[in-house]
Symmetry: D2
């Protein structure tokens, strides 16, 4: 079994008066520690890593570590545009208690991000990181995709243990699985295609949806691995409306709204992200009710 | 079970001195009639419909009907840019013996092909066609995609019995399955993602690959429906290199080359399509050997 | 001066009860023969070539020739997906009286339309065509772009006299001008960027807008060539709203509506194209009034 | 005349052993202060803003100010993903001596960057910035484009004085010019389409090419404004090969290589950007010789 196999959620970073809301952040984590989640990802795309200063980021990792027992994996996002900056962030995150770092591809100089450049970048980061590295393809945000051929080369690095594939291109994900050894973990990042990603060989996922309905996500994993396809399809179909709302459709704002609705603290994202209009909040509330989730407010 | 469930191949149109090679066309079909294929598609994208005159097309349908017993489904491509032209072609194909017509989306005036325009187009075609209509999304060639919401509306038309989804976007295919009734057939068109498409609810496929290894394609269907995921993944992985060569990578020329290599007649595609360079032919030969296919030449 | 330098319009094909409306077609042409236009393009994208049968197309060319004196250039669209079909159409158009054929790139098998394939296609067509060939890049409809390097190679063919560049990518157009000899005509096809295209070296245009305001389009050409940039910018800005409506925004339906509004006959496009909603017709009417065009209805 | 009209170059940030090379940075600026350039942009895309820490950025602005007399405009890049971070960076840059801040669009959460969100972002930044704000569209890096309608709304803000449009879409640039008042400066960012951008109303540019051949770039501006179109076309054509090399083709590495070749200090970009292979360096050397630039090494 790959080291990282299992179910994770990327947690939100709540703000209050535009400052990190530490009590809410801690309280959210305590909630998730009572669920079936194997671990948490902090400072991911859903954690507004792009909106958080280095100092705030260090604090986020440290707080999460305090609230998470050793048995739960703490994965911290440390991707930066420069190799140097990514290494620094990874060292700091490890020092603050991260078990693993997850590193998105650089994306600003898109046109120059050849497989060659990306393989070199990740190799240098993995050489220097005190903790294992999880690759992270999230083309929807970075505009860059590390090709399966690049993943294949990086999979042999002793300090690179897997990849999170955020997109819904199942053919691509299958190729990544096929080109990497069994102990290299491929985690899905798109909840609307989660069961199909598991079908082609993913051994887990990092899903915003799993912050809301972790048990249902785990059940989907069980249904696929036991070959109960009809049931898997039915459950996937039920989950899709909410999955879409807290995924590509409304992004961070959708995710934070849903957290508020189940009684955790999401709050407003930092600008320029905007809060959702009331009509959309109602839609999400209804989607949660359709899943028998107890909804607040 | 949906009316069309099963495995099909889109057959090539062989030419000799740039004219339809009727003996070869007949001979190829006689070969496929000895396989597990439920039926054949003529005048599809792989049949170079875009390169064939109306008169040649009529002949192709008539010849296929002569060689195919009543129990085998003959599906003929009749999509044109205009609604009127599509209806005329559908009437002629039915008269020549087609059991079903498959109608690609119009694609020249891409920007104007709203869901509204496409629903109206297909409704008029289905009203007028003497035989049932199979919708056909093939964005890679037309640049247009009939949205799931449009398929949902069209699925209630009594003369529209299903759709071929040629792309590999599994989330899109799943949504089409979810929005249409059980007796509406959704067929996969991408061989590299065939098992994933079956997993999300397709009940068959129209695959160039099935012209070469029909039994293996059928076995993939059986593995998925019986929940033998590990074996399905393994078989899919074995089939992928050849699937790619006769699919998106080399298109019609790749498909015709592979037909030649197994002892059928592919021949050269019509210009401007070009024959494959020798090196690529060798690659395809090797991919066929890797699948234990007896290769000629 | 390049052979084709000057201003042209692609004319619409009017239908009545879904059949070619010959009297209206003739009458429209007689109107344009009283304007400054150097010639007309029939069976272009705006002429719904994609919706017209071969027989109808032959008739369209013959009718246009009857109405056009020898001094006015008759350019006929003859592009087909196959090289063979394009040659046949070109021979027929020449026989029916076309002075020049305009040949859009094939576009169905997009992925295979390499520069090599396109150069071969156009060379064979030009070898066989009895009249000179005008290349035609219209990526918005075909999804294919003949690269400047390909145009450069084709410009040396004695029977290829120019290109219509329909897009608004001024850098691309400039490169085409720079890589071709002075007697090779580069005509603009996008009215909203017409003056910029002239600025980088186009020596004319084929514009739907020129069917409505030919004198203004010609004046724009004069302003640019005499270096009166401020006036050119002002005139271009005035023309843009209408240019957009009869161009990319509403396409054939927008163009036909505008013809109706100035007292010519546009009529409805063939399905699946749809007529414009009343509100959009009003917008176009107002845009024409803003240009002091006498508007009917 | 718009406040910012004129010619600028975005300067590179030279590193030595991966640290800011201050003497080289100063020396480069002293060179440019002897040219016709109206000012310099530091911490732009070409200045590897994405690779530079906040502390390094502050130092870069301060050093530039020390080397630049008051008459030369110092424009500093301060765009960040969050509104808050952008404001902080703008305040620091102003304090360190910047005359103007240039603010790229946020780009990580692409799908959420509606016109509404961007207008709000820029309004808040402009409200808080101690110095005037220059908007900055650079879709090739951010994947986001502030629409002309958004620029129009922002142009009325008293602290927003113009925009740099980095792309080559001349129709888009023309629309931005047409929708904004005469005292709002629109600067071109693409050197290969510089003359066309001037033709449609840009009153200057921020061009990497201008770091190498400032006088030629200024001459191009004079040729266009005096209506000498033939000469402008010829000069633009001559400049294009080098413009492409230090622009979209090789990006920062191309630009730094060219600086080295004319005797300034470019050096290697920070990783993951890679230095150019020797063959490409030779190409650029030849392109410079073709422009009669004295080339070192």
């Amino acid at each position: 079994v790959p080291a990282l196999a299992g179910l994770y959620t990327p947690i939100a970073t709540p703000f209050r008066a535009d400052e990190l809301d530490e009590p809410a952040f801690r309280s959210n984590i305590r909630h998730w520690m009572k669920t079936v989640l194997r671990g948490l990802v902090v400072l991911g795309s859903n954690g507004e890593a792009a909106h958080v200063s280095d100092a705030e980021g260090d604090r986020v990792v440290a707080l999460a570590r305090e609230e998470m027992p050793a048995g739960r994996l703490l994965i911290a996002g440390t991707g930066r545009e420069s190799t140097h900056g990514t290494i620094e962030a990874s060292v700091r995150a490890a020092r603050a208690g991260a078990d693993v770092v997850i590193v998105r591809t650089p994306g600003f100089y898109k046109g120059q991000m050849s497989t060659e450049a990306l393989v070199r970048h990740y190799s240098l980061v993995a050489d220097a990181s005190p903790v294992p590295v999880l690759l992270y393809n999230v083309q929807m945000y970075t505009g860059v995709l590390l090709a399966p051929a690049g993943v294949e080369r990086l999979a042999s690095h002793p300090n690179i243990i897997g990849i999170k594939e955020s997109g819904g291109d199942i053919g691509h994900i299958a190729e990544v699985v096929n080109r990497t050894p069994p102990d290299f973990t491929v985690l899905a990042g798109s909840a609307t295609t989660f069961s199909a990603a598991l079908f082609v060989g993913c051994t887990g996922g990092i899903l915003a949806l799993a912050a809301l309905v972790p048990a249902a996500c785990l059940r989907l994993m069980a249904l696929v691995s036991s070959g109960q396809l009809e049931e898997a399809r039915r459950l996937q179909r039920q989950l899709n409306p909410l999955a879409r709302s807290v995924g590509t459709l409304h992004g961070v704002a959708g995710f934070k709204t849903a957290l508020d609705l189940i009684g955790l603290t999401g709050g407003a994202p930092r600008e320029p992200l905007m809060s959702l209009p009331a009509g959309v909040v109602e839609e999400i509330r209804q989607q949660m009710r359709d899943l028998d989730l107890p909804v607040h407010g």
